[in-house]
Amino acid sequence: MVPLPYVLGLAALLFSLGLYGVLTQRNAVRILMAIELMLNSVNLNLVGFARYLEPDRPGGQLFAIFVMTVAAAEVAVALAIILVIAHRRDDVDIDKINLLKW
């Protein structure tokens, strides 16, 4: 069995990578992908903890399934909005989406 610290370390690494992506990427679709990385690191954490804390109860795994479902719904709405933007202009570079400022 993989020791828990390995799982948590990988999750933390994935989360940091995702956060880095969210902060540095300029393309809306890429930012979405980075957010997915963050969510998957959470899933890894939840499943890893569940395996060690309560191997006979499905608490953590259950939560991970919910996270995946919600993420799918979120991406569906996100892509719809990105499509609307892509129809109005050719790219989805968030630096150029700048009508709102003071």
Partner: protein
């Protein structure tokens, strides 16, 4: 697992709302008269309010402890239903004029309300997260429904990217807290904390992640940057709905998570909340001064008001909680009222700049005076409701030996006065470009009259309501 916890009577308000939402989608297919949707929505909200009555005063944990029915949940549900009803009223004319798809608009509004219900009525982190996402996903779509307006779509994508990233942060916090305490239920988490888990650094990190995630939802500085853009770009009734309803839901979740789940770390998070509160109110008020667009001004004002409400969490006493609840209630009514006037001006053909309010006192004296009362209430001038809201927070801070925080609040109220008065001066002292009276639809008049009466009543006779919120806060 036992099914004895299946109690449909206590879950009836949520079920009625879900049914109403589905009904609205179906009705939209069969009728050309989109006003019918608003009436059906209002009927659903009223039915849900009536369904709250049987469960009132009971405290029960149903559906395998996933849903908590208690007086705090009851209080917030009343606030959410009031906000939704008012949002439906002020949307009626707006949706017709802007040619928004009515079925989607009203149904999503109702579904977002269901999400708020879940956020306020659970002691389980899983359900709180699901409620939060239900509100969020419904509002991404609502914010972007003005598809022909580039600003609306831009507001939507910004809101979506920031909000889903912070949801991931919130989730990471949940996973760490789950890992260190072994439970997703807040009471069990509190037990594990009391039993000695509090000293773990991982748990502390989890608490910080939870705090950051929820601070985003209530637009607290420095997690506020999505708020002005989102509130400016979205359809105006949705700005009102999100500023009042979604923010109140965020505070409900904050109260549950921190007061019920993490009281063992109170020393740490009260300090953080005090700092956030000071920064948030000061930033909001100072930035609002230079705004020229009314919706952006209301957005920064909302950030400042969130700072005032955070005082209740910084003191972390029963009195502080009661003051928070009272302020959120008052805030919901005065803000939706102010937005009703903004919608009226926007509908009359003028835009959403502050200069578009020129001469409103001649064009429509009732709405001009109504806006004056809402603004006096937002500043906190007696005898309006906002004054008692602030007074309660103020005395809660003093009672908890945080006089400095109370002083910062008062200074901030003074800073906030000029930008509200700027709008009032524009309405009363500057000549209108066109002198003809503004035509006010009945729905907006009703929404304004209701919010006006509540804003004044909660200021004139605050004691009954305050003693009720004291009870609610005591039961937390």
């Amino acid at each position: 697992m036992a099914v004895t916890g299946m109690n449909f009577t206590l879950l009836l308000p949520e079920l009625i709302l879900v049914a109403t939402g589905i009904l609205l989608v179906l009705l939209d297919l069969f009728t050309e008269q989109k006003r019918v949707l608003v009436y059906a929505g209002l009927a659903g909200v009223l039915a849900s309010l009536l369904a709250l009555i049987p469960g009132f005063g009971t405290t029960a944990s149903i559906w395998a402890d996933m849903i908590q029915v208690d007086s705090l949940a009851g209080f917030f549900k009343i606030v959410f239903l009031a906000v939704t009803a008012l949002a439906l009223l002020v949307s009626l004319e707006y949706v017709e004029r802007r040619q928004i798809q009515a079925g989607e608009f009203y149904a999503l509004l109702i579904f977002a309300t269901v999400g708020m219900f879940l956020m306020a009525s659970s002691l389980n982190l899983l359900v709180i997260y699901l409620g939060l996402e239900l509100v969020a996903i419904a509002s991404y779509a609502l914010v972007g429904l003005l598809k022909q307006d580039g600003r609306s779509v831009e507001a939507s994508i910004k809101y979506l990217l920031v909000s889903s990233a912070t949801s991931a942060v919130f989730l990471f916090g949940i996973s760490l807290v789950y890992g260190t305490t072994g439970s997703l239920a807040l009471p069990q988490i509190a037990q594990a904390l009391a039993a000695g888990a509090a000293s773990q650094p991982v748990l502390f990190a989890g608490m910080l992640f939870l705090l950051a995630g929820l601070a985003f939802k209530v637009a607290a500085f420095p997690f506020h940057m999505w708020a002005p853009d989102t509130y400016e770009g979205s359809p105006t009734p949705i700005s009102a709905f999100l500023i009042t309803g979604a923010e109140a839901a965020g505070f409900a979740a904050l109260l549950r998570v921190f007061l019920v789940g993490l009281p063992g770390l109170a020393d740490a998070w009260t300090t953080i909340f005090a700092a956030l509160s000071v920064l948030t109110m000061t930033y909001g008020n100072v930035t609002a001064i230079s705004q020229t667009k009314i919706k952006r001004l209301m957005a920064y004002s909302a950030i400042a008001q969130a700072g005032y409400v955070l005082v209740g969490l910084a003191v972390a006493t029963g009195q502080g909680t009661a003051a928070m609840l009272y302020y959120l209630l008052v805030y919901a009514f005065m803000t939706v009222g102010a937005f009703a006037v903004i919608i009226l001006v926007a509908n009359s053909g003028a835009g959403e700049e502050i200069s578009d309010f020129r001469g409103l006192s001649q064009r429509s004296p009732f709405f001009a005076w109504a806006l004056v009362i809402y603004f006096l209430s937002l500043i906190g001038i007696p005898p309006t409701a906002g004054f008692f809201g602030k007074l309660n927070l103020f005395s809660a801070a003093i009672a908890a030996d945080m006089t400095w925080l109370a002083v910062v609040m008062v200074i901030n109220s003074v800073i906030s006065a000029p930008y509200y008065f700027k709008v009032i001066r524009t309405m009363f002292l500057e000549e209108a470009a066109e002198a003809e009276p503004v035509r006010a639809p009945a729905s907006l008049t009703w929404a304004t009259a209701i919010t006006l009466v509540v804003t004044i009543l909660l200021g004139l006779v605050p004691d009954q309501v305050y003693s009720w919120v004291r009870l609610v806060a005591g039961a937390l």
